[in-house]
């Protein structure tokens, strides 16, 4: 399942806590649109560099990117101590 929402929290002693609740689905839509626009160029570049360059890598970059994107859901990173704290959560 593609992550829909990202929660972010940054806290530092003496400063106002920063809370961020963002529907990342909006970013994914823009990224997907960009990637579709760039696809013909990527395909041409892949064909041109197929023998001696990164052609194969270019070609597999799309599925690898989307696989990683779809698996982000559930990622939770929380690091902190008494003075500062950072939380990033995808759901």
């Amino acid at each position: 399942m593609i992550p829909m929402i990202m929660k972010m929290r940054v806290y530092e002693e003496g400063k106002r806590p920063f809370r961020f609740f963002f529907p990342v689905i909006l970013i994914w839509i823009i990224v997907a649109a960009l990637m579709i626009v760039l696809l013909p160029l990527v395909l041409i570049a892949a064909l041109v560099t197929w023998r001696n360059g990164p052609g194969k890598l270019l070609l597999i970059s799309y599925p690898i990117f989307f696989t990683a994107l779809f698996q982000l859901s559930g990622l939770h990173i929380e690091i902190g101590n008494l003075k500062r704290e950072l939380l990033i959560h995808f759901e």
Binding site: Q71, L72, G74, I77, E78, I79, G80, N81
Partner: protein, 138 residues
């Protein structure tokens, strides 16, 4: 009726197991996860790799880490290893060598990494010192 269910009921009838144990076994047999993992990384019940660091009694900084990484993300991330350029691989090798680890990064195949991740399911690390460190799967 499947063989497993029949065996469990036979064992219950023979008095080898209690009704409670039979119930648990039947539930385990009935769950979709028990039909056998299709690939070794998808063992039932384990979806995330957790890293927990909690401050112990002697900790001065009270550092805390709570990380939960989906296994599928680890597997997807490993595929990005193909994009690491040769020059960077040499630098990684040199850095590892400096730390006393003789390893050739370029010789690691994707299958090796797959195997490594699939066996992370069995990983459990508990360290207690100034901080309590726990690495496990859930």
């Amino acid at each position: 009726m499947s063989d497993e269910r029949r065996k469990i009921l036979d064992m219950l009838a023979q008095g080898k197991i209690t009704a409670e144990e039979a119930e648990k076994l039947l539930a385990a047999v009935a769950s979709p996860d028990s039909s056998g993992p299709e690939d070794s990384s998808a063992k039932p019940g384990f979806k995330y790799l957790r890293v927990l660091i909690e401050p112990g009694p002697g900790s001065e900084t009270k550092d805390r880490v709570n990380v939960r990484v989906p296994f599928k993300l680890i597997r997807a991330g490993l595929k990005w290893a193909a994009f690491i350029p040769q020059t960077a691989q040499k630098q990684v090798n040199d850095a590892l060598k400096e730390k006393g680890i003789e390893m050739d990064f370029s010789k690691i195949k994707p299958e090796d990494l797959e195997e490594l991740v699939s066996h992370l399911n069995d990983l459990r690390v508990d360290v207690e010192g100034k901080e309590k460190i726990r690495i496990f799967c859930e």
